[in-house]
Every structure is written in C-alpha cells, then in structure tokens.
C-alpha cells in the first residue's frame, strides 16, 4: 500500500511534463475539487452534518484575499489564510447557531443554504466588492501575487492543496476527533450519552472545514481571474462540492479524490464537447442521470465498492 502511494505520487509529480494544456486544466480541476470535497468531507462525510452552503466559504475566502490584494496589494498567499480565517468565522457562526439549537438533518441543510444565499445577495449589493458584476483580477504573472504564466505551477499548487487536505483528513481519521465524529454520525444521542461533546466536536469540524474551503477560494479566484457573486457563492458550486465526496464515498479518505477523478473529467469533457455543439444544457443532463445511477446502483459511493472488488480479487487463489 505504501509503495502504491509513493508510485502514485511520483506519477502525479511527473505528469505535467507529458500533458497538453487541456489535460493539464482537467487535472487542475480534479485536484481542486478533490480538495474542496475533502474539506466538505470532514464535516459532511465523517461527521454526517450535510452542508449545501459550502460555496459561501469559497466565496468569502476568494473575496477576502482578492479584495485585500486589489486594495492593499497584500499577497494572496497571506490573504489566503486571512480568507480562510474569515470563512472559519462564518462557519463558527453557522455551526454555533445550528448546533446550539440542535438543528439536524434537513434543517441544518437548509440553514447552510440560507446562509449561502444571504452571502450571495449581500455581496452582490456591496459596491466595494464590485456588486453583481464582481471583481476582475488583472494578470501580472507575478508568483507573489498568486499568478503564474505557466499552467504547470497551478497544477502543483492544486496538487499540494489536495495532498494537504488528505493529510489533515488522515490525521483526523486516526484521532480521537475522528472517532467522535463517526459516533455522532451514527447516533448522536447515544454518543452524547457516552460522554462525547457533540456540540464542541461538530463546531470544531465545521470551523476546520470552512477554513480549508475558504483557503481554496483564493485558488479559485486566482485561477479563474474573476469573481462573480452568483458563481462564487451560488448553489451550483455547493452542489459541485458535495457531489464528489458522495459519489466517491463520503466519510472515507479516498472518496472525494476518487469522486473527483470520476466527475471532474466528465464535467469538463462533456462541457466542452456539448457546448461546442450549441447544446449548453446537455452535459448537465448527463451529469444528473449519472447521479441518479450512482444513488441507485452504488449507494455507498464508488470507493467502498472498488475496495471490496480489489480485496475479493486479492483473496482469490
């Protein structure tokens, strides 16, 4: 297993030398969405607290670092952490309100949707943040400003983000907190009866998840060079974030990564393929049908299924 990991890592590190610019873009999206999915997975997968408002954290992080960079020339590398902190604060507010009042399941989902939409509406009415038109970043090619003239650097940054998120998830999985989160996911009342501080654990999970998602916002802004409230805070982005861990297998370390390797190329290829034909909605129909199929045929996600398949083959004589 350790060898397989090292080989995979070496392949990913060498890969940009062999990829064309289009494939490079696809891989950047795979890593970036795996990163966001892993951040969501900490709260939604391990802890079972489903958030459909994670785009709010992306948006807050992206707007914070971009605003600081445009107004005070602060490097997005520093703004990234400030943006993450701002997102973490919002996460703390949502978590405090939601968990303190015992909102569970569907009610919590709706609270996160509501906060995401509130952020979107407020930001699109703040003139200093560009209103509904958003902010546009002028390209300078300065690495200190998080801008690279070569796409390969974005590739390595995205890969790094994904690996960091996996490291954090692996640490949590093995820690006491991971056990607490799993207990809360399976049966919150029973876990509390056994002395788990459910409120504190869930709050810590949402703050961490929001922080990581907010950090991702800076990458989002500086890779796309523009920020609009409707895309950076919108529900479609939240949907993109939750799809990958659920399709791959939520609550598992490899789930978000596997899910992103399945969905991101599919989204990217079908988008370019069908959009070129003038049928802009078709790729989302494919996407939606795929989702339905996953739920009906692989309800626990692809990763547990794949692992069972592998271990069965290994076990066979």
């Amino acid at each position: 297993m350790r060898w397989a990991t090292l080989v995979a890592l070496a392949v990913l590190l060498m890969l940009p030398n062999f990829l064309g610019s289009y494939l490079l873009t696809v891989f950047i999206f795979i890593f970036f969405y795996a990163y966001l999915g892993q951040a969501w997975n900490l709260l939604g997968g391990y802890g079972g607290q489903i958030s459909l408002g994670h785009a709010a954290f992306v948006g807050i992080g992206a707007y914070t670092s971009t605003y600081l960079a445009m107004t005070y020339q602060l490097s997005p590398w520093i703004g990234m952490l400030i943006g993450g902190a701002a997102a973490a604060c919002l996460g703390a507010v949502i978590g405090y309100l939601g968990f303190r009042f015992g909102l569970r399941g569907f009610y919590f989902i709706l609270l996160t949707v509501a906060f995401g939409e509130i952020c979107r509406l407020v930001v699109s009415h703040v003139d200093a943040l560009g209103g509904a038109l958003g902010l546009f970043i002028t390209f300078s090619g300065d690495p200190w400003q998080f801008q690279f003239s070569d796409n390969r650097y974005y590739y390595y940054v995205a890969l790094g983000l994904m690996l960091i998120s996996m490291g954090i998830a692996a640490l949590i999985e093995r820690s006491r907190m991971g056990a607490y989160l799993a207990a809360i996911r399976e049966d919150e009342d029973a876990s509390e009866a056994l002395g788990v501080n459910a409120f504190g654990t869930k709050l810590a999970a949402i703050v961490l998840s929001a922080f990581l998602t907010g950090v991702g916002g800076t990458f989002y802004a500086n890779y796309l060079f523009s920020l609009q409230p409707n895309t950076a805070f919108g529900i479609p982005l939240s949907v993109e974030i939750i799809l990958r861990p659920i399709v791959g297998g939520s609550g598992t370390l490899m789930g978000p990564v596997l899910g992103s390797f399945i969905l991101s190329p599919l989204a990217e290829v079908s988008r370019t393929y069908f959009a070129r034909g003038g049928l802009s909605g078709v790729h989302l129909i494919v996407y939606g049908s795929l989702l339905v199929a996953v739920v009906l045929f692989f309800p626990r996600g692809a990763y547990p299924y794949l692992r069972r398949l592998l271990s069965r083959r290994r076990g066979a004589p």
Binding site: F101, Y107, A114, E117, I118, H125, G281, L291, V292
Partner: protein, 290 residues
C-alpha cells in the same frame, strides 16, 4: 414612501402569495408523507409554467384555464419520478435521497433548457393588464384570479385529505407508514398518489405564476429554495402552516422590495427563515419537531 405605496405592496404580495402557498402545500405533502425532500420541486414548477406557455401560444388557452391540464401533466411526471426513482430510496440515508433528487432536478432543469432555450418567458393572459381601483390602491385582476384559484385548489386538497377515504389513508401513512402497512393499506399506491398530488400542486402553481412573473429554466432552483423556506417557516408537515407561510413570505418579500432594493427581496425570506430556524424550529404552525 407613502402609506398607500406600502399598502399596495402588501396587497400585491398577499395576492401573489396564493401561488407560493400552493407550491409549498405540494412540497409539504410530499415531505409529510414520504419524508423525502423534493429538490426537483421548483423544476417541476418550471415545467408547469412552460406547458402553460406552450398551450397559450399554440392553442390560445388562457393560463387561468390551462392550469388544470398543466397540473394533470405534472401529476403524471410526479408519478413517474416516484415509481421509477423515489420509491427505491425510501429507506436510504438522507444524503442519498438528496443526491437522487438533485440528479432529477438537474435533468429536468436542463431538459427544459434544451427544449425551450434560456430566454425568459411570460405567458400571455387576457387579464394580464386589467386592474381595479380601490381608492388609493389598485387590485391587479390577474393576481386576484390567481389567488382565488390557488385558494380553491388548496381547499379542494384539504377536503380530499380530510373527507375522502384515500385522503384519510394518505394522512394515516404520513403519521405512521408502518402502521398504515399493518392495517392493510396499499402504502406504495398511497405514496405514488401523494407524490403525484404534490407535483400537481406545484404544476398548477407554475402555470398560474407564469402569467404573473417571467420565468426561465434557471428559476427552478430558486423556487425550490423558496418552497423550502415557506414550508419551514410555516411548519414542516402542516398544510395550514404551508399555506399561511406562503402568504407571509410573499407579503414580506413584497414589502422588502419596496423598503430595500427590489433585487434584495429574497433576502427578507432568508432572514425570516434563519430567525425561525433559531427561535422556533418547528415553524409557526408546526406541532412538534422530530
């Protein structure tokens, strides 16, 4: 800012609230019976709107007549979705149901985009511009008819659920699905009918609303979210709560559009939702949370 302006906004909102109520009643019924969150609700509504639009364009049918056909068509859509998909995940975890309905929503929304294009539409109605003056404020006739029809449909649904045998079985299954199974009710059929009726409500609401507000495939998800707001504010599983919640949210949005900026009117609904979730999570008219 005069009192008449505020009164006008409140009245417009109140009359518009009928369609909000109708779509929320549909959602509440589906959730109450099956505990399934119909994320495709708003997209079903948009399909109802487009059907009304096409019927008006091709056959010259007024949306205030054709809403019956639209409701019937979306009833069938609901039955198919329930039979083919929802039925198979009734006992699956929450997130799987959400994911399934998200997939259905994506398919419905983008199917509408492919078939009808991205342009905003509005169904022509003979009453579209008619108004009646009441002293300093006027009554929009189209809104008045819409409100009357929405109220009548809601009352009809109420009578069906509380007077007819099938309706009583639906309520029994909502209270306790297992219990309904034990006493020999055909729960699968009940679920199918309930989902169909919920869809028919939102289909009718879509047809009626298409004469009042411009719509496009992209408006579907926003309507889904608004429906959820209303249902939570009114009280999950309470049909009366959904109805009154619809009126309340519509009036609040309408006043918000006048007092703040028109494009911020949705904010009012969300703030209302957050307040309700925090201080009265069972909703204004809901009994208990569970």
């Amino acid at each position: 800012m005069t009192l008449a302006l505020l009164g006008q906004a409140a009245l417009n909102g109140f009359l518009f609230g009928g369609v909000y109520s109708l779509m929320a009643v549909g959602l509440s019924l589906i959730f109450g019976v099956m505990r399934v969150i119909n994320i495709a609700h708003g997209d079903m509504m948009v399909w109802g709107s487009y059907l009304a639009f096409v019927l008006a364009l091709r056959l010259g049918l007024d949306p205030f007549v054709s809403f019956v056909l639209c409701a019937a068509a979306i009833f069938c859509m609901g039955v198919v979705v329930q039979r083919a998909l929802v039925n198979r995940v009734l006992n699956a975890p929450h997130e799987m149901q959400i994911l399934l309905m998200l997939g259905v929503a994506l398919v419905l929304e983008n199917l509408a985009l492919v078939v009808f294009g991205p342009d905003t539409r509005r169904t022509e109605s003979a009453y579209g511009l008619a108004t009646v003056w009441l002293g300093p404020i006027f009554v929009d006739v189209a809104r008045l008819i819409t409100f009357g029809l929405a109220l009548a449909l809601s009352c009809a649904l109420y009578l069906f659920l509380f007077r007819s045998d099938l309706g009583k079985l639906i309520r029994a299954a909502a209270d306790n699905g297992y219990g309904a199974l034990v006493i020999g009710a055909d729960v699968e059929r009940i679920y199918t009918v309930a989902f169909g009726i919920g869809a028919a409500c939102v289909g009718a609401a879509g047809a009626l609303m298409s004469a009042l507000l411009p719509f496009s495939p992209a408006t579907g998800f926003a309507q889904t979210v608004t429906s959820f707001n209303i249902v939570i504010i009114g009280g999950m599983g309470s049909l009366l709560g959904a109805f009154l919640g619809g009126l309340l949210v519509a009036v609040a949005e309408s006043l918000g559009a006048v007092l703040l900026v028109p494009s911020l009117k949705e904010l009012v609904g969300f703030v209302l939702l957050v307040l309700i979730l925090l201080f009265r999570p069972q909703g204004l008219f809901g009994g208990k949370t569970s």
